[in-house]
C-alpha cells in the first residue's frame, strides 16, 4: 500500500458513515418496509422449462376471500418488439416485458406466469395453488452447443442471428455473432514453436447476494407511483418501470433502500413491475419478497459458457497468435456477457495476430444477467489456463511469460483501440517480487498433492452519468446527496473525495443516497464506476462549493475573490499588509445562508483495471477435494480512496472466484429443473473454506480521474478461476478444463473413478 503523503483524507481509513446503522440492525433494507394496510404479493411460476401457455384460469383463486387482485401478462401494456436504449443498456422491450410475466410461452422453470395480491403472505401462497394454467409442454434445450444445432428446439420464432448489422435469414437460438480480428492468424500460428488448443466449459452460476429481491409499491390517487426496493440503480429501475408500464418517468419515484449485495444481479427488474401493477390495481401498498429458490430459478444467473482457445508462442515465450471461440448462455432471452468476455479474453497481452468470435445463444434457463466483470471470468479462465500450459511446454516461469507479453500504454487492444496509461505490468512485477512467490511449496505433504497457480485478469471499467448535491450547513458540516446506491462502502469513498477538496475530515461530510426525486440521474452501482464517476461528480460539486465560499470570504473581507486563497480547509488573504484567515466553519457561518453545489457529470476515461493472482492449494488425492492454502491478490486500483474497502472488494472477489472454481454451479435434471436451488446445495464458500487472503494494492494513477481512481470492484473476480485451475492442474499433473472442479471431477481427471 503506497503512501499518499500528498493527501489528507484520501488513503486514510475512517469508519464508514453508515456503519453504526449496519452493526446495530437499524439499517433499513427493502424487506424491512412495513405499512399497516399493506397487501402481500406472490408469483406463480412455470413448473416447466419450456411450455406454451394455452390458458390461465384465475376464477377459483379470485374467489379466495383474502385475494384482492390477480394479474397475468394480459395486464401488462403491450410493448413493441423493438430494441431500445434503456438508461445505459439496450434491450428489446418485448423480451423485457415477457420476462416479467410470460405471455405466449414459458421459457424456463420459474418463469412468472401470474401474480396474486392478498391480505397475508401465506394466504397469497394458498391462492397461487388455485390458479389453473393449461400448458403444452415443449422440449427444453439446456446446453449451448445443443441449442446451436440445426433442429434444436427453437425458443423464439422471431429471433434471427445478428452479426455486425447483418441479419440471418431463419429463426434459431443464436442471437448474435460478433468478431474481433487483427493481423494475420495463419502467419502467426506458422511462426509458433508451441501451440496449445483446448476446449473449456463453465457452469451457470449465481451472484449469490444474501438479500433476496424485494419490492414494495404504492400508487396514489393522483397517479404517482412509489417503489421502495433493493437495487443497484434506482434510476435504472425507474427507466424499466416506465417502459414496461408505459408510464412517464416523472410519475414514478424509486426509493433505493439499503441493498444486501448485488454483484450485477440487481440491475434487471423482476418483481418490481409486478408489485407496481398490483398496487395500481388495488390502490394499496403491496409488498413482495422472493424466496431463495425463486432467486435461483427466476433471476439472472451468470452465463454458463463453452470456450475454445488456441494460442501459439515462439521459443522466446512471445505470443505469435491467438484464437478464441466463445459461446455463452444468454438464457431465455438474448443478451449474455459474451461481448465483454470476447473483449477481455486476451486483453492483458499484446498480440498482433488474433481472432475472437463470440456467440450469444438462447436456451431454457433464466435470462442471464451481469455478475462482477460479466463474461470476463469465463473468458480469462480459458485463456489463462492455455497460457499456463504454454509456459509448462516452454518450461518458462508464468510470471516471466507475462512480463514478456504484457500490454502497456500505447499497445493495441484486441479490438483495435489503443491502451491509455494502464498498470498491468506493475501487477505482474509486484507478483514477482512478492514473498509469496519467492517462497516455494513442497509438491506433496502427507499424501496431499500441492500446486501453485498464477493468472491475470482485465476489466475495462465504466464511466457514465452520476449526480451529487452538496449542502453546506451553517455549522460548517456538509450534507452530500448522491444517486449511487451504496453496496460496499461507497458513501465513504465518495464523501472522502469531497472532503479532500474542501480540506475537511471525512466525518464532517454526511453522505446520503437519494431517491429518484431528490437527486439527479445516476447510473447503476456497477461497471466498477461508482468511486470513479460519482467521485468525480462529488469532486466537481465540492469545487463549486469551494469557489462559492471563496466568494463569501472575499465579500466578508471586502476583497476580490481572486485575492482569497484556500489551503487545508482555511481561507487566507492579505489586506493592507495584514494576514487575514477564516476557517471553513467561520466562512460557512459568515455565508448567512445555505450554500448549495449540485453537479451532474458523465466522465469518460474510466481507466482499465488489471490484476494478477497467486494461489497455493492442496488436493486430497483420495477424495479429490481441493483446499486453498494461501492466496495473494495483486491489483492496480489507480488510487485507493479508502484502502480497507478497496481491499474488501478484492477479498470478496477472490472468495466468489473460489466458489466458481471449486463448488458452485447450477445442476439441472433432464426436464430442465434446477436440482440445487438452495444455499444447502448451491455451495458458496463459508469462512471455513477459505484462508486469509493477502491483498496488494498497486497504484498506477488513472489520468482520467483527479485523484487517479480506477474501478476496483469487478476485476478481482477475473483471475481466480484460472489461478486455481492452474494450481490444481499442476498439482495433479492433469489439465482441468471444466468448472466447477468438484471432487468427483478431480477424481475422474486423476483416473481414480
Amino acid at each position: 500500500m503506497a503512501e499518499n503523503k500528498e493527501f489528507k483524507v484520501i488513503g486514510t481509513r475512517p469508519i464508514r458513515h453508515d456503519g453504526i446503522d449496519k452493526v446495530t440492525g437499524r439499517a433499513a433494507y427493502g424487506a424491512d418496509i412495513h405499512f399497516p394496510d399493506m397487501l402481500h404479493g406472490k408469483v406463480l411460476r412455470s413448473p416447466y422449462a419450456h411450455a406454451r401457455i394455452k390458458s390461465i384460469d384465475i376464477s377459483k383463486a379470485s374467489s379466495h376471500p383474502a385475494v384482492k387482485c390477480i394479474i397475468t401478462s394480459d395486464d401488462l401494456p403491450l410493448v413493441e418488439d423493438t430494441i431500445t436504449e434503456l438508461g445505459e443498456t439496450v434491450i428489446n422491450l418485448k423480451y423485457l416485458s415477457d420476462n416479467i410475466l410470460a405471455s405466449d410461452k414459458a421459457l424456463y422453470k420459474g418463469h412468472p406466469v401470474a401474480a396474486v395480491a392478498a391480505t397475508d403472505p401465506y394466504l397469497a401462497e394458498e391462492a397461487l395453488n388455485m390458479i389453473e394454467v393449461d400448458y403444452e409442454i415443449l422440449e427444453p434445450v439446456l446446453d449451448v452447443r445443443q441449442a446451436m444445432e440445426p433442429g434444436a428446439p427453437v425458443l423464439h420464432e422471431s429471433l434471427k442471428k445478428e452479426s455486425m448489422g447483418k441479419e440471418g435469414d431463419h429463426s434459431q437460438n443464436v442471437a448474435s455473432h460478433s468478431q474481433r480480428k487483427n493481423g494475420d492468424l495463419e502467419a502467426g500460428f506458422a511462426a509458433a514453436d508451441v501451440i496449445v488448443e483446448r476446449d473449456f466449459s463453465t457452469a451457470t452460476i449465481h451472484q449469490g447476494y444474501i438479500e433476496t429481491h424485494n419490492a414494495t409499491a404504492q400508487y396514489n390517487e393522483d397517479g404517482e407511483l412509489t417503489v421502495w426496493c433493493s437495487t443497484q440503480g434506482a434510476f435504472g429501475v425507474r427507466d424499466q418501470l416506465s417502459k414496461i408500464l408505459k408510464m412517464p418517468v416523472s410519475k414514478i419515484k424509486v426509493v433505493p433502500m439499503e441493498i444486501g449485495g448485488g454483484f450485477g444481479g440487481k440491475v434487471q427488474v423482476y418483481i418490481k413491475p409486478i408489485a407496481a401493477l398490483l398496487a395500481m390495481k388495488t390502490r394499496k401498498p403491496v409488498k413482495m419478497t422472493m424466496t431463495r429458490t425463486e432467486v435461483f430459478e427466476g433471476t439472472g444467473p451468470a452465463p454458463g459458457s463453452y470456450i475454445r482457445v488456441k494460442l501459439g508462442a515462439d521459443n522466446t515465450g512471445k505470443i505469435t497468435a491467438a484464437e478464441a471461440h466463445l459461446v455463452f448462455e444468454a438464457g431465455a432471452y438474448p443478451g449474455s456477457a459474451v461481448g465483454a468476455g470476447s473483449l477481455c479474453i486476451f486483453a492483458p497481452y499484446k498480440i498482433d495476430n488474433l481472432q475472437i468470435d463470440g456467440y450469444d445463444v438462447v436456451l431454457n434457463k433464466p435470462k442471464s444477467s451481469g455478475y462482477r466483470a460479466p463474461g470476463a471470468p469465463n473468458a480469462c479462465f480459458a485463456s489463462e489456463c492455455v497460457i499456463d500450459e504454454i509456459c509448462q511446454k516452454l518450461n518458462m516461469d508464468p510470471i516471466e511469460f507475462r512480463l514478456i507479453n504484457g500490454a502497456k500504454e500505447g499497445d493495441r487492444r484486441c479490438d483495435g483501440p489503443i491502451y491509455p496509461k494502464i498498470g498491468y505490468l506493475e501487477t505482474v512485477e509486484a507478483a514477482q517480487q512478492h514473498h509469496h512467490y519467492a517462497e516455494s511449496i513442497d509438491q506433496t505433504s502427507n499424501g496431499k498433492l500441492r500446486g501453485r497457480g498464477v493468472a491475470s485478469g482485465f476489466w475495462m471499467n465504466g464511466g457514465g452519468r452520476s449526480s451529487v448535491t452538496i449542502n453546506v450547513n451553517s455549522d460548517g458540516r456538509i450534507n452530500l446527496i448522491e444517486g449511487s446506491t451504496d453496496i460496499g462502502g461507497t458513501r465513504a469513498s465518495i464523501a472522502m473525495q469531497a472532503a479532500e477538496v474542501l480540506g475537511l475530515p471525512a466525518e464532517d461530510i454526511m453522505p446520503a443516497v437519494g431517491d429518484t426525486d431528490s437527486v439527479g440521474y445516476t447510473g447503476v452501482t456497477g461497471g466498477s464506476r461508482t468511486t470513479f464517476a460519482t467521485g468525480i461528480a462529488a469532486i466537481n460539486a465540492a469545487e463549486d462549493i469551494r469557489a462559492q465560499m471563496i466568494g463569501v470570504a472575499a465579500n466578508h473581507w471586502e476583497l476580490r475573490p481572486s485575492d482569497v486563497k484556500f489551503k487545508d480547509g482555511t481561507f487566507l488573504a492579505q489586506k493592507n499588509g495584514e494576514a487575514l484567515q477564516m476557517t471553513f466553519k467561520e466562512v460557512a457561518a459568515a455565508a448567512g445562508g445555505p450554500l448549495v453545489g449540485a453537479v451532474t457529470a458523465s466522465p469518460g476515461g474510466a481507466g482499465n483495471g488489471f490484476a494478477t493472482h497467486i494461489v497455493d492449494l492442496e488436493v486430497d488425492s483420495e477424495t479429490g477435494k481441493v483446499d486453498i492454502l494461501r492466496y495473494t491478490a495483486i491489483q492496480d486500483v489507480g488510487r485507493a480512496i479508502h484502502p480497507s474497502y478497496a481491499e474488501g472488494q478484492v477479498e470478496g472477489g477472490v472468495a466468489q472466484g473460489v466458489g466458481w472454481a471449486l463448488s458452485e454451479g447450477y445442476l439441472y435434471n433432464d426436464e430442465g429443473h434446477m436440482t440445487n436451488a438452495s444455499f444447502l446445495d448451491y455451495r458458496m464458500p463459508t469462512s471455513y473454506d477459505l484462508p486469509s487472503i493477502e491483498t496488494v494494492l498497486v497504484e498506477v494513477p488513472n489520468p482520467g480521474h483527479p485523484y487517479g481512481v480506477r474501478g476496483a470492484g469487478e476485476v478481482p473476480l477475473v483471475p481466480p478461476l484460472a489461478a486455481i485451475a492452474n494450481a490444481v492442474s499442476r498439482a495433479i499433473g492433469v489439465r482441468m478444463t471444466e468448472l466447477p472442479m468438484s471432487p468427483d471431477r478431480v477424481l475422474e481427471a486423476m483416473g481414480s473413478i
Partner: protein, 87 residues
C-alpha cells in the same frame, strides 16, 4: 483524413479492405462518406440517423458518448466495435 478500421464482419462490403482513410469532421460525416465509397455500410452501422445499439464507436482510445455527433480530427483513428451488452 481519419483512419477507419473496418470490422471483419463488414469487410464483405469493402472487398476485404480492413483500414480506409475517410474524410469527415464528425462520425456522421465519416459514415456518409464511407457509404458513398461502399454502399450498404450505413445500413449495417445505423438505424436511421443513429448508431445501432449493439455497435460502439471508439475515436482513438476513447469510447464515443456522442454517437453521430462525435467530433473527429484528421489524425483520429476510428473503430466500430461490438458494443458490450449484458454487463
Amino acid at each position: 483524413m481519419a483512419l477507419v478500421s473496418v470490422p471483419s464482419l463488414m469487410q464483405d462490403l469493402t472487398a476485404g479492405q480492413g483500414q480506409i482513410d475517410i474524410e469527415g469532421e464528425t462520425i456522421r460525416e465519416i459514415i456518409l462518406n464511407f457509404e458513398k465509397a461502399f454502399p450498404g455500410i450505413k445500413d449495417r452501422l445505423c438505424d436511421g440517423d443513429r448508431i445501432k445499439p449493439f455497435i460502439a464507436v471508439y475515436v482513438g482510445s476513447e469510447l464515443s458518448q456522442a454517437g453521430m455527433r462525435e467530433p473527429v480530427s484528421p489524425d483520429s483513428e476510428i473503430h466500430f466495435v461490438p458494443a458490450i451488452s449484458g454487463g
